[in-house]
Symmetry: C2
Subunit: 330 residues, 2 copies
DNA sequence: CTGTTAGCGCTTTCAC
DNA sequence: GTGAAAGCGCTAACAG
């Protein structure tokens, strides 16, 4: 880009000069404070002509609102997270806020780094989908005093506004759905059983009476899964239904089932958390538990904006339900 | 969050005082400029003890590097975009840069707004996956002089560094693949035929000799697609193969094929741009053209960092190829 | 090499 | 209401 003398962007000083008012009055006018009608008109006109844009860095430095919301999530590659991010961007924009997002790869150290980077940039509020060990990041958050919403937490946290999904209720609904179809042995497929959300699902699973349940937890190890699931499917007391803790695991399971030439729902039933765009396209379509992404995003934006308006509010908790969408796979 | 007297975060002034050096020396030490070994040690120790963190707003205000890269893309909900965003975040982090992303929903006005918001915050560089009418945004970009990479553009732009995919080559590969399997009539499914990338694909399609080609363009109108595709599939000179311009369209097509009880590849062949996580899970697995997401992201980061180091570089252009992954669907 | 000083663009007292 | 002036935290020029 050839430079030469790039005309520097106009400052509020330029605007004040052109409107023939003092710098302070220009500032007041542009930030919607009390000024005379004439002064306001002159300043706005000058700003328009000059193409003035407020410099958020300077504004933030002096301690005002930045108009930016931050979002930190474990990954953007899952349908659930991408959907939430997109919905949150909508909700934020509807409230005149910009969203800046960063992903943490499920790594607590990166999570903390991302949170701090956003805090350093003086975001007005932060939405966090916590990793498995979020304490370091949460400590930075409380220390900063920034308005924060924790999304997808197992239970309310007295330090923050929180939004949870009714994991236990969803699991109960899934089990009831399967029980009604005659299933008595269910295998739950999970990646990280220690993850709070997953743990809540497992707890609800264990609490169930009519169905014998078991858990296959494989971490990120695809190979382990590919080896272990077929073994479980051939065991004596083999499960008649699988519940996948997310759509990735459902994919993995589908691959195994195809390789084993097992048909749904005859040979085995499959039910999955997460409604991805492909889940109604399998043969037969998958029965899924769908998270109310848009409602979650809107609740997050609402909690944040209300707290910005009224910082003294006590921590609030919102519990949202998932929908069980029956497909042919169960 | 109960406040009381939250201890304000330490400034460089506090660090200087504790290290018994001047503010300037502290700044020099902390920004890695020339200072004596003792001074450096004292300052670093003080910063560590105090838990000092540079305030990027103040830093940016004075005109230094912000250490932040911006990413503006049309949407995060597609596998391709999400994959690119994630890969770019990796590439940026490997170079010590933070990535801030915002999506524009394919709307040129929002695109411009997002670009300006990022520029206002003094990002060091910006990666843009342009919408169909990016000129307004591009003008803001040239005016600001910020290092920029345009990704997924139909051709090199003399004002920016650019990264393109070889759309024509990919389309030729797809057609050759189909021709070799005896197909002579192909229908290309697109949403926005005017979109530059799509237009490039269509141009390559029309140029082909041995195969009769047609285009079904439906915009975002799912219902139109559901009505029109079956009609085309029942016409006299009906196509024997479909090429979907992205994985969403492939999904839509799969739904129609199932409803029409047409099997792949016997009744009809299907080939799709975009390798989504589910594309090898359909029955039979889909033949897809895969974009080299990681390579694209890394090229973008590389172009940006090299330009930051050397602003005078002439605009560069990178052309990357897609891979044709044969599945059973063709 | 070090310390002093002048801003970056804006908001915010505080007199008038 | 309005204007003058004092910073926000930091970097960069400049003298020592």
């Amino acid at each position: 880009v050839p430079d030469g003398t790039r005309p520097r962007p106009p400052t509020i000083r330029d605007v004040a000069a052109r409107a023939q008012v003092s710098l302070g009055t220009a500032s007041n006018a542009l930030s919607g404070r009390a000024v005379s009608a004439e002064a306001r008109a002159a300043v706005e006109e000058a700003a328009r002509v000059l193409g003035w844009r407020a410099n958020p860095l300077a504004r933030g430095l002096r301690g005002a609102r930045s108009g930016v919301l931050g979002l930190v999530l474990p990954s953007i590659a899952s349908a659930f997270h991408a959907g939430f991010a997109e919905a949150l961007e909508d909700s934020a924009e509807a409230r005149g806020l910009l969203l800046m997002q960063a992903s943490a790869r499920g790594d607590p150290a990166q999570e903390k780094a991302r949170i701090e980077a956003l805090l350093d940039r003086r975001v007005d509020g932060l939405v966090l989908l916590p990793s498995s060990a979020p304490e370091a990041g949460l400590a930075a958050l409380t220390a900063s005093g920034t308005a924060t919403v924790l999304v997808n937490v197992p239970k309310a946290d007295p330090r923050f506004d929180t939004i949870s999904l009714d994991e236990a209720g969803a699991m109960r609904a899934a089990l009831a759905h399967l029980a009604a179809r005659g299933h008595r042995r269910v295998l739950f497929l999970a990646r990280y059983p220690k993850l709070a959300v997953t743990a809540a699902r497992i707890a609800a699973l264990k609490r169930h009476r009519r169905i014998a349940t078991d858990v296959l937890a494989v971490g990120a190890d695809h190979a382990l899964f590919d080896g272990e699931l077929p073994r479980r499917l051939r065991a004596r007391a083999r499960p008649t239904a699988l519940i996948a803790s997310n759509s990735i695991l459902a994919l993995w399971a589908l691959r195994v089932l195809r390789r084993e030439a097992m048909a749904m729902p005859g040979d085995i039933a499959l039910l999955s958390f997460d409604a991805a765009d492909w889940t109604d396209l399998t043969d037969p379509p998958l029965t899924v538990l769908r998270q109310p992404v848009a409602a979650m995003a809107d609740a997050a934006a609402e909690l944040l904006t209300s707290r910005l308006a009224q910082p003294g509010l006590p921590p609030r908790h919102r519990l949202l339900r998932m929908d069980l969408l029956p497909g042919g796979s169960t």
